[in-house]
Subunit: 323 residues, 2 copies
């Protein structure tokens, strides 16, 4: 029984106007019981389905939320999207996924879709485009970021990475570490900058020199741990502790340590981030990040764009055996 009827036919069948049918469909008040029942009967009999594109055209909304992520294939974004998706289901929204590989062109496409009203709102889980560009598109619909935007006119759910990185550094300091390195996913980006700033401020506070070699970038996946250990091995004065902003990478490092007989945590302490399942099984000390929660929240902000609000979520230290 292929889709056939349109609202006119329903109106004819129920002997009412299309307006009344539309009212029934949208649960408007001011429809008499009698006519409502007649319309519902006609709908049932014809197996009528609204043409959703017509609805979109009329209403100018699509019930679609854009989600920008650099890689679909990474547990951090996996969890974030999971959180967004679950909340979307609850609220009868669907997601349009933009996998960008951090190409600005892809991000621009997402923004353009917002402009064209093909999506109702846009969530940036991570971005490469400058803020200025994103700002230009804010008139077209809600845009939500997943980074600290306090002081800016754009809503977000975020973790204060300056704060949590500082917390992590202090934790290592209290465990006696003075030579601390770190691994970041990328060189640029709001979150990375916050962390680097925290690092520099920390060094200053404890009065230790800045060692450029102690920084590692492009640490994204399990396999990136190899390169870190390789570099460490080549150092005459390697760090005694490593802050690793992804449990995947931390796990990769850990495996390499075992292989190369580097004692963890005695020779090298490893502190992860995310508290992914892999951290649990590998007994990784890590900072729990409420990613699912964060996803929930992001979607909520996207569909209830009442006011600009910045929602901070907090990390929690999970002590296990690598520090």
């Amino acid at each position: 029984m292929i889709n056939i009827a349109n609202i006119k036919e329903i109106a004819k069948m129920a002997k009412v106007s299309v307006t009344t049918v539309s009212r029934v469909l949208n649960n408007h008040p001011y429809v008499s019981e009698e006519k409502r029942i007649a319309v519902e009967k006609a709908i049932k009999e014809t197996n009528y389905q609204r043409n959703i594109n017509a609805v979109h055209l009329s209403k100018g909304e699509t019930k679609l939320i854009g989600v920008v992520i650099p890689y679909a294939n990474h547990p951090y974004f996996g969890l974030l999207v999971e959180g967004i998706a679950n909340e979307a289901v609850k609220n009868n929204y669907k997601l349009v996924l933009f996998q960008t590989n951090y190409e600005e062109q892809r991000e621009r496409e997402a923004l353009e879709m917002l402009k064209l009203k093909q999506i109702d709102a846009l969530i940036f889980c991570s971005r490469n485009s400058r803020f200025k560009i994103i700002d230009k598109y804010m008139v077209y619909g809600p845009i939500i970021l997943c980074e600290d935007t306090r002081g800016k006119n754009i809503s977000s759910t975020f973790i204060d990475h300056y704060k949590s990185f500082s917390q992590a550094l202090n934790y290592l300091y209290n465990k006696g570490h003075r030579k601390i390195g770190y691994c970041l996913a990328r060189r640029t980006g709001s979150n990375s900058s916050s962390r680097e700033k925290a690092y520099h401020d920390f060094l200053q506070k404890i009065n230790e020199p800045f060692e450029p070699n102690y920084r590692f970038y492009d640490c994204l996946n399990f396999e990136d741990g190899q390169e870190v250990i390789r570099s460490l091995n080549a150092m005459s004065n390697p760090p005694t502790a490593l802050l690793v902003t992804s449990d995947q990478v931390a796990a990769g490092i850990l495996v390499c340590c075992k292989e190369k007989n580097i004692a963890v945590p005695d020779e090298l302490a490893i502190l992860g981030f995310d508290n992914q399942p892999i951290a649990q099984i590998m007994k990784l000390t890590t900072f729990d990040m409420p990613l699912i929660n964060m996803g929930n929240n992001l979607l909520h902000q996207a569909i209830h764009p009442l006011v600009v609000n910045h929602e901070e979520l907090y990390v929690k230290l999970i002590e296990r055996e690598t520090v």
Copy 2:
């Protein structure tokens, strides 16, 4: 400069009919150079953008492809989606993601969106609904599956899991193993069934008894390896080799083995599937699955639904150190 103009205004400005504007927008032939330039000028001046929802209503297509996955947060589906997404970008399509957690209700929503023409085609990376239900929706648009559908009237890109599982079993057999267990992601599903059938046929062929304890289900993530090793430890007569249909799980098992001093591969051989990065770093022997490729192909079939076609892709053994 908020969106303002519509096609009528452009027509007025360029002193042509809306039809001609539409022709220019859609690169129809039969527009004189002169008018084409006038229209393009008006478009540029007003910064005109087509209302995409009106286009959808008119054309009955959306340039949106639905992608059904159970979990966003799993490397198998991550790679598959990555492959689909990359090909989508190339062809100017966007993806609508349906994360189902294997709930039929979610799968149904995706199918309904196809019916409502809110998406042009639908790709099932994995499904829970019976084939019969999916079949009912095939009149509404292309549906592509990621499983062996040969003999069925529905397109797919797939790996013959019967074949590859048999290949894996034979490989272990030739290495001297007779007591072989396996870990699957779920109890039901087309791929799992093929593998179980391969297993049974293999046992019969080599004339070994069927040992129900050697089967493990719900092995999806890294942490699920723990439970497998726990069970194995409690067995008086455990398998000497394990076929693990996800490198994540295999890696989890491997880590647990190290922890419990189970020698791999001497005491327990582990054979993974997928050839994820984690397999490389952990020196896991595994079957490479062309997931990105598969994703590319799935999208291609979705947007070029000319005829029913079943595209088989092949696994490739990667010998490392766990068998």
